[in-house]
Amino acid sequence: MADKITLEIPRYSPERDTEPRFEAFEVPVHKEWVVLDALNYIKDKVDGSLTYRWSCRMGICGSCGMMVNGEPKLSCATFLSSYAHNGNKVRVEPLRYFPVVRDLVTELSDFLHKLKAVKPWLIRQQEPPLSEGEFLQTPEQLENYKQFSMCINCTLCYAACPVVGLDPVFVGPAAIALAQRYNKDSRDQGAEERIAVLAHPEGIWGCTFVGECTRVCPKHVDPAGAIQEYKLKAALHWLKSFVTPMGRTTKDVRHEAGND
């Protein structure tokens, strides 16, 4: 392991730049250091204007996603030493397919909008009073949706998804996985409402099953699996719709998804 490594980082500020320009920073390599430690070293000791998000440093808050040598990674969970051989350079860039606010900070409002669009809350026809106690749910029923509940909203899957790159209105892997997290929850009764949002071209049909989303997920969520399950369900729903019209127009659906 080399004792120094160079980080190449695209610098961009809309007040100053028309396009990003790369800067190189040499930092020490310690075996415990992750890529984020190197960024903090630069900010503290070399250039306080380097701009990035981070918070928990334990892979759970989802703030610090970046492209590290072209791969979407949580920078707090990626050891610097893994890159300390290959010409001693590592390129750290903002997550792909998102607008860049500044340096390594991406714009997330569209992602937040998509999360909300899938109605990620428990939908019930009737709500019994609290005095009746908890909804029973066996460990097997919990297991049925649990992996989809592990998403930390880090957006690495969007940066990995070629469809997101081609079609920015695609709802995208994390939001679809979240919809499926509630659909598969034995306490939920909202699957019909959610399918109305997702069963249109920008919902799930855009996905071409590349499976990159699942591969890069740091929490082992399987958005590709969620999309596949959803497509099957939506196809059945679509067939059913010839018998019972949904009573909604494409325009309504687009409006609910916030895509108009």
């Binding site: 007040e15 306080g48 808050c61 703030s63 937040l112 609290l130 029973l136 460990p139 306490r187």
Partner: protein
């Protein structure tokens, strides 16, 4: 300058803030409620809580037992009326979260499962594997999305509370994305900004935990309570400070010294058994376990590492199945950050700064003494945690007192007129301050990171697990010097767009204030109680200090510490006993007369 206006403004979008927002929205759907946070809500530090949330739910348990464990665990510094309200409402709040979809771990028959936790005599800790805070926060965040009256200011940083006519009427905040500095007025403001672990060098706390709300309240004239009580969690990974949850010990993990000996038996915590015994050994309270580590270290029975001495947490005997189902995050964190597998290897751990028991002083509704200002969660001190919080009480605290503060703020807001426009002049002054002190300042020689590191070292050396007058007085002097030097900081970054260096500078200012309050409160409390251990005053002194410290910032920047008697309802102060059957709660004991400290 720009301004926007709401009925209720939540500062902080973690567990307490989101719970408060929903509670206010349910009081009156017509209320205009805003949540302002320096991060997106799902990044809030509630996300890192692992082990669980306590609430009496099983037939063998009772509210009084939860109250007694909490009060004795807090070394009798808890306000007992607050604890009684807390234990009563905690199960309902946890149940409400179940109704909102929280994926609580379950018994085979589908009922809620509970686990043992440190200092608790009964199994009453609800959990979602070992990512309880993560699941609670995401459930709350996703649930808030269905409430239209709740609007969000994501990634806005609050720099000041606006006070006029003796009443808090809003805030000044910077929109990070644009750099815009704006007044956001409200009839009531609720602080839910969490703790201040980053004042110390080695902490489980996220980078965002800078005591913002404590400093904002203090500068606005509200008192901070019990700031000398900082909890060290006994099991943090060296270097990173990543927390290994107490649930690892509830499931049966052992604490071992360098000889593989379960050393806690030498510190009045009971005798070792092969399976966990409640309120005993590894399931003792956090203050006692962290103090035992220091003693063991002094005896030379710990293991030296480049990042300080460690002992070992041994989970190997639990087996792969228990570790994978009950402690999957512990395994993930050990594998990813320490490169060890707890199924086969010992986990190196050392005490790590974890939780501030003190905070902005509130009553049991969440109201501070400053009209219009409320607080809930770690930023607040109600106080249910006293001198030492029990593990798994902080998550339900966020829910119970978040909801209470939300309801109280809604009732208060209903009685108020809209904020006066003259408040905007104050906001304009604050904008000028930010411009002249930071963004347009020329010169300046100090780096933020240098002052921050010196502050952290100072606080650790003067107000660590054990304290004494000399080191505290030296620490206070050094902090005054750092306050002076802070005025001479220089920013590399003068731009408006997402200026994280400006944010770090303002956070450092907050932390310096909070550090001062910790050291001053510790200096004035000449006794030992819970997490506050004075080597020069080793005994608890109920005659003088059965009282909360109240730290006030004077207009000239100096500070003073006063005392407020602890509220005793049914449990007279007693000895804290662990490792033996706990003494029975004295149900009918009369309230004891309280003497105020001079």
């Amino acid at each position: 300058m720009d301004a926007s206006s709401h009925d209720i403004l939540l500062v902080g979008g973690g567990g307490a803030g989101l719970r408060a927002a929903i509670a206010a929205a349910e009081v009156d759907p017509k209320l205009n409620i805003a949540v302002i946070s320096k991060v997106y809500p799902m990044r809030s530090h509630t996300v890192s809580a692992e082990g669980g949330a306590a609430g009496v739910v099983k037939p063998d348990d009772s509210l009084d037992e939860h109250a007694y464990d909490t009060i004795s665990g807090g070394d009798w510094l808890c306000d007992q009326d607050a604890v009684e309200a807390f234990v009563k409402e905690a199960p309902q709040e946890l149940l409400q979260l179940e109704r909102w979809g929280c994926p609580w771990s379950r018994e085979p028959d589908g009922h809620i499962a509970v686990r043992a936790f440190g200092g608790m005599k009964k199994r009453r800790t609800w959990f979602a594997a070992d990512k309880t805070g993560f699941h609670m926060l995401h459930t709350l965040f996703q649930t808030t999305l269905k409430y239209d009256p709740i609007v969000r200011y994501d990634e806005w940083f609050v720099t000041k509370l606006l006070v006029d006519d003796g009443r808090v009427q809003g805030v000044v905040a910077i929109e990070l994305m644009s750099g815009k500095i704006q007044a956001i007025t409200a009839k009531a403001v609720i602080l839910c900004t969490g703790g201040c672990g980053r004042v110390f060098p080695f902490t489980t706390n996220a980078n965002i935990k800078n005591g913002d709300g404590m400093a904002l309240a203090s500068r606005a004239g509200a008192p901070l309570k019990d700031m000398e009580f900082m909890q060290y969690h006994p099991t943090g990974l060296p270097f990173t400070g990543i927390l290994i949850t107490e649930a690892a010990r509830s499931e049966g993990g052992y604490m071992l010294n360098k000889d593989g000996y379960r050393y806690l038996q030498d510190y009045n915590l009971g005798t070792p058994q092969s399976t966990p015994v409640l309120r005993s050994m590894e399931l003792g309270p956090r203050d006692r376990l962290s103090q035992a580590f220091v003693k063991e270290d002094q005896k030379g029975r710990t293991i030296p590492t480049p990042y300080g001495s460690v002992v070992h947490l041994d989970l190997r005997h639990l087996g792969e199945k228990v570790i994978n189902t009950k402690l999957p995050f512990v395994r993930e964190l050990c594998l990813k950050y320490q490169n060890i597998d707890p199924i086969k290897e010992l986990i190196p751990v050392r005490p790590v700064v974890h939780y501030m028991m003190g905070g902005v002083s509130t009553d049991i509704t969440g109201a501070t003494p400053l009209a219009g200002l409320f607080a809930a969660g770690e930023v607040a001190c109600v106080s249910i945690n006293g001198a030492n919080r029990l593990g798994s009480n902080s998550l339900p605290e966020c829910l119970v007192f978040g909801a209470r503060a939300g309801r109280a703020a809604a009732a208060f807001a209903a009685e108020q007129k809209a904020p006066d426009h003259k408040i905007l002049a104050q906001a304009s002054d604050e904008k000028d301050r930010l411009e002249t002190q930071f963004l347009r300042k020329s010169g300046g020689r100090e780096r933020i990171a240098t002052i921050r590191e010196e502050m952290q070292k100072t606080v650790e050396q003067s107000a660590g697990i054990y304290r004494e007058e000399k080191s505290l007085a030296e620490g206070a002097g050094k902090l005054r010097e750092l306050q002076e030097r802070y005025h001479d900081i220089n920013l590399d970054d003068r731009s408006r767009t997402f200026n994280t260096e400006l944010e770090a500078a303002l956070e450092l200012g907050f932390m310096l204030d909070v550090a001062e309050s910790i050291v001053q409160c510790a200096l004035h409390r000449t006794e030992s109680r819970g997490a506050h251990q004075r080597t020069d005053f080793a005994a608890r002194n109920d005659q003088k200090f059965l009282a909360h410290s109240l730290h006030y910032r004077n207009p000239d920047g100096s500070s003073r510490v006063e005392y407020l008697p602890v509220k005793i309802t049914r449990w007279a102060p007693g000895e804290r006993v662990y490792g033996e059957p706990a003494e029975k709660p004295r149900e009918d004991s009369p309230a004891v007369p309280i003497r105020r400290a001079s």
